[in-house]
Symmetry: C2
Subunit: 120 residues, 2 copies
């Protein structure tokens, strides 16, 4: 399997009114946490991806329920997944679920969860 066959996908809520800087920080939280989790659970996936271009895709959902559906679906496929809950110092209430990070993982597996979602 080639390096391009691994990717990491971040799924961000677009119903919270977050600005660009806030969104970027939430996506970065998800990316770092999911990368660390993958490194522990699937080190070969992490290293193939890290050395091979670190493909990242950012997609969007419009509600908490949609975000949790994505998380549950990813977990049911045994993908490494993290849920970001904001500390709420700015813009949104503490504990708000903002973003999910998946992988890095084999692209065909991640696609089962996220390919129907629109790019941010």
């Amino acid at each position: 399997m080639g390096a391009l066959d691994f990717k990491q996908v971040m799924v961000i809520r677009r119903d919270l009114g977050m600005g660009t800087g806030k969104i970027a920080a939430q996506v970065a939280h998800a990316a770092v946490m999911a990368a660390e989790r993958t490194k522990q659970k699937k080190p070969d996936w992490f290293h193939s991806w890290f050395e091979g271009g670190q493909a990242k895709v950012v997609v969007k959902v419009q509600s908490f329920e949609e975000l949790i559906d994505v998380k549950n679906h990813a977990e049911s496929l045994k993908l490494p997944v993290v849920l970001v809950q904001d500390s709420g110092l700015t813009q949104i209430p503490p504990g708000t679920a903002t973003c999910v990070g998946i992988g890095p993982a084999p692209a065909d597996l991640v696609d089962k969860v996220t390919e129907r979602l629109k790019l941010l």
Copy 2:
């Protein structure tokens, strides 16, 4: 030193006309790469930050020259720093320098480099 005394800062160019999704992906690249670099060079900094809230700040610059100035300044203070160059598949030419990631590192050290920059 408490957990809140560590932070990671991402510096993004705002002169490239990148959209929100593109910006979020570049910031996430910088965050993952800088976190990995810090883990190798300063593991105690990484772990204090990772276990203690993972504070992240995203700030902006308006040119390539400003971005490189930030990178050079951070390196002169021996901070872990990475430069993201986009693969250029969408929106901007291949190899374009888009973003710098610094740390995580002690906040007072990072502030010497980034405190004058505006939040994204």
